[in-house]
Amino acid sequence: MRTLAYRFRDLLALEPLTADELRFLLDQSKPFQEIQKHPLKKLATLRGKTVALAFFENSTRTRISFGTAASRLGADTMNLQAEASSIKKGETLLDTAFNLNAMKPDCLVMRHSASGAADYVSRHLDIPVVNAGDGTHEHPSQGLLDALTIRDRLGTIENLNVTILGDILHSRVARSNIHLLGKFGCRFTLCGPSVWVPRELEKIAPGTSIRCVYNMEEALKGAHVIIMLRVQTERLDDPPLSANDYILLYQLNAERLRLANCDAIVLHPGPINRGIEITPDVADGPQSCVLEQVTNGVAVRMAILYLLIAGASESGTHPALEAKPKESANASD
């Protein structure tokens, strides 16, 4: 039996993880996917534990997803929301983190508009920190839930052609996708207006095949997976393109989707701008996985919280040699 464990105290990024570690995280999410189908979804596994959710940047879906994951594991949550918090009154990030930590949570889940914010905070806290999105750096739980969704639909995450469409320069989702799927031999085509898809992106993951393409028809050819990014309409005000031009050149519609592999799947981290980056018939069509992504998000986040708070490993030593309390000496495993 080989020893396989998640060796980090925190989950800050997917880039430093090995393929084995990533596969372990995906495999450990499976039991939690099953729990989403149970009539009673609440476990008592983390009863008495507290998860602090600190979203310094607005989020609906990710915050609800982490909150749901915590409560389905039996943990309580404390919520910090940027709008109502003392950040508005000038408190520093670290002071806010110290104050939250002083209420003795067992884990801190945080989102921040600055790249590296979660890493910075984790260096000053003694509890696990989960990065729920930091600036344009990474969004590891999104990368994991996307990979889980792809593996469920296509049966594998190895050697696929993955096309990512939209504002890739500012996308932490795209980076987490590339750092995860790239380790399994996936090849990436990045496509969008050139200011959002600079050529430098081809070098962000050494060893991974990444090419930037500015013609959508070409980018879709042979794709097994199409990952749409939300067009941040607030950014369109400072336009590389008008909304109409964007639709004309880069909107995913049924006709363009036919250029991809015939069983290609479409992912979108949400929220969707219907009629801008994607047409409703594609968003709601059989190739779309957007709602599976949301369901899988809860499972992945349950696995992350479980692993970081409870810890996990598969030991190769003899059970009797481990200093375990009596009741587990003859546990099933």
């Binding site: 396989l4 450990q28 039991p31 009539p39 476990l43 008592a44 598969e314 009797a320 040699l321």
Partner: protein, 182 residues
């Protein structure tokens, strides 16, 4: 600390005969097998449940479904035991409401695993009845839990460990009593 094998409690043919007997006992005492199902507890309860189900097919062609239950998330020793066991998938491909369930595990010891398994089952529905079948009952209970079907009862000391080795998992087939020696 070293591990010393003290004795062999069951050989492969003895395990086989015991499972045949347990299959007969369960069918005999169930008063009908229409709603009967076996739930193997991960890990070694799973092949045992499958073998008992196989043996039942030899008894008037009784065909009972077998489910798989991983109790890791239902354990009560989260704060005491680190690191945790790796999670494995549960797979119970039938509704448990009104079913006549028999939990199957290799060793019954403190009873805490079975407590956890019952919590897991009740998250899935409301079975009509839950009974317990184990290959070995080694005593030292810490919960008010007993097995209805027992392969063999063994007197043990606290430091001893019963190892059930099954060919599906361990590449050998026997039950041994081992001890920890300082």
């Amino acid at each position: 600390m070293r591990i010393v094998e003290k004795s062999q409690l069951m050989s492969a043919p003895e395990i086989d005969r015991t499972l045949q007997r347990l299959a007969h006992e369960i069918v005999e005492k169930s008063g009908g097998t229409k709603h009967l199902a076996l739930i193997g507890i991960v890990r070694r309860g799973v092949p045992l449940a499958q073998r008992i189900a196989q043996a039942m097919r030899g008894i008037d062609g009784v065909d009972v479904p077998v489910g798989v239950l991983d109790i890791t998330l239902y354990r009560d020793d989260l704060s005491k035991v680190a690191p945790q066991a790796v999670l494995r998938s549960s797979d119970i491909p039938f509704g448990v409401d009104n079913m006549d369930l028999v939990l199957v595990d290799d060793v019954l010891y403190t009873g805490r695993t079975i407590r956890a398994a019952m919590n897991g089952l009740f998250d899935l529905g409301r079975p009509k009845r839950v009974r317990l079948c184990v290959l070995i009952d080694r005593g030292h209970r810490e919960m008010p839990i007993e097995a209805q079907y027992i392969g063999r009862s063994v007197q043990t000391s606290d430091t001893e460990i019963i190892e059930v080795r099954l060919r599906e998992i361990d590449k050998e087939e026997r039950v041994v009593l081992v001890d920890r020696v300082e």
